[in-house]
Symmetry: C2
Subunit: 130 residues, 2 copies
C-alpha cells in the first residue's frame, strides 16, 4: 500500500509541476492506464495520449494552482488536495475555480485515477483590484 505521506508528497509535486508548466513532469506522475475525470460528471480522459493532451493544454493557458489546505491522505491508496485555480476569463478579467482533486495510486506509486470536484458554481470572477 502507498503511504499517506508518499501520496501527499506526489500531490504537492503535481501542484508544483503544474505551476512550472512542466507538462512532462505532471504526466510522469500518472500510470499509463490512468483515467482523469475533470470535472467529475464529464467524460473520462483515459490512457497516456489523452492524459498527455489534456495536461499539455491545461499547462499552456497560464493557470496557477493555489493550495488552500494541507493535502489529505487516507488508510487506503487514495489522497486528496484542495486548491484554487487562478485563470483569466475570456475578456482577460481575473477569475478562479475552487477545486478538490481525489487521486488513487497504484502499487508503483503512480496516479491511476484522478477525479476533480468542481461545479459551474465554483467558477468566480475575482474581485477587481482597487
Amino acid at each position: 500500500m502507498n503511504s499517506s505521506e508518499n501520496m501527499k508528497a506526489r500531490l504537492l509535486d503535481y501542484i508544483e509541476a503544474f505551476n512550472a508548466a512542466d507538462t512532462a513532469r505532471v504526466t510522469a506522475l500518472f500510470a499509463g492506464n490512468a483515467s482523469v475525470e475533470d470535472p467529475v460528471g464529464t467524460p473520462l480522459k483515459e490512457g497516456r495520449s489523452e492524459i498527455d493532451a489534456f495536461y499539455a493544454y491545461a499547462t499552456s493557458v497560464g493557470a496557477r494552482l493555489e493550495l488552500m489546505a494541507p493535502p489529505r491522505g487516507s488508510h487506503g491508496n487514495s489522497a486528496s488536495i484542495s486548491f484554487r485555480v487562478h485563470i483569466a476569463a475570456q475578456d482577460g478579467q481575473p477569475a478562479y475555480i475552487d477545486v478538490t482533486d481525489v487521486m488513487d495510486f497504484d502499487a508503483a506509486g503512480k496516479i491511476v485515477r484522478m477525479r476533480a470536484y468542481w461545479g459551474a458554481d465554483d467558477y468566480h470572477l475575482s474581485a477587481a483590484a482597487g
Copy 2:
C-alpha cells in the same frame, strides 16, 4: 441530477448539524441504503442502523468541525468539503485531524455514499496555547 448548489448547501448543513451535536439532523441527510467510509481504506458503515450508531458516537465526543475552504460541487451527483476536526487527545491535549469528505447524492438529494479522506499523518497535536 442534483444541482451543485444544493449539494453544497447539504454539506454545510452537515457541518452545522454536526457542530450542534444534532445526531438526528446529521443522519437525516443520509439515504437508508447509504454507506460511510471514514476514513477511506477502512470497513464501510452501511445502512441506517450502522450510520446512526456511527454518528451518535461521533457527535458525542465534543468534536468540532472547522470549515477550511468553500465546498466544491461537480458536474455529476458528487460534492466535496474540507475541514479540520478539533478534538481532545486521550490525555486531554487539544488535537486536530485534517479531513476532506466526498459525498455522492441520490435522486432525492440524500447522501448515498460518504468517503472521508484522512490518514494517520493527518492527525496532529495542536500547538500549545501561549
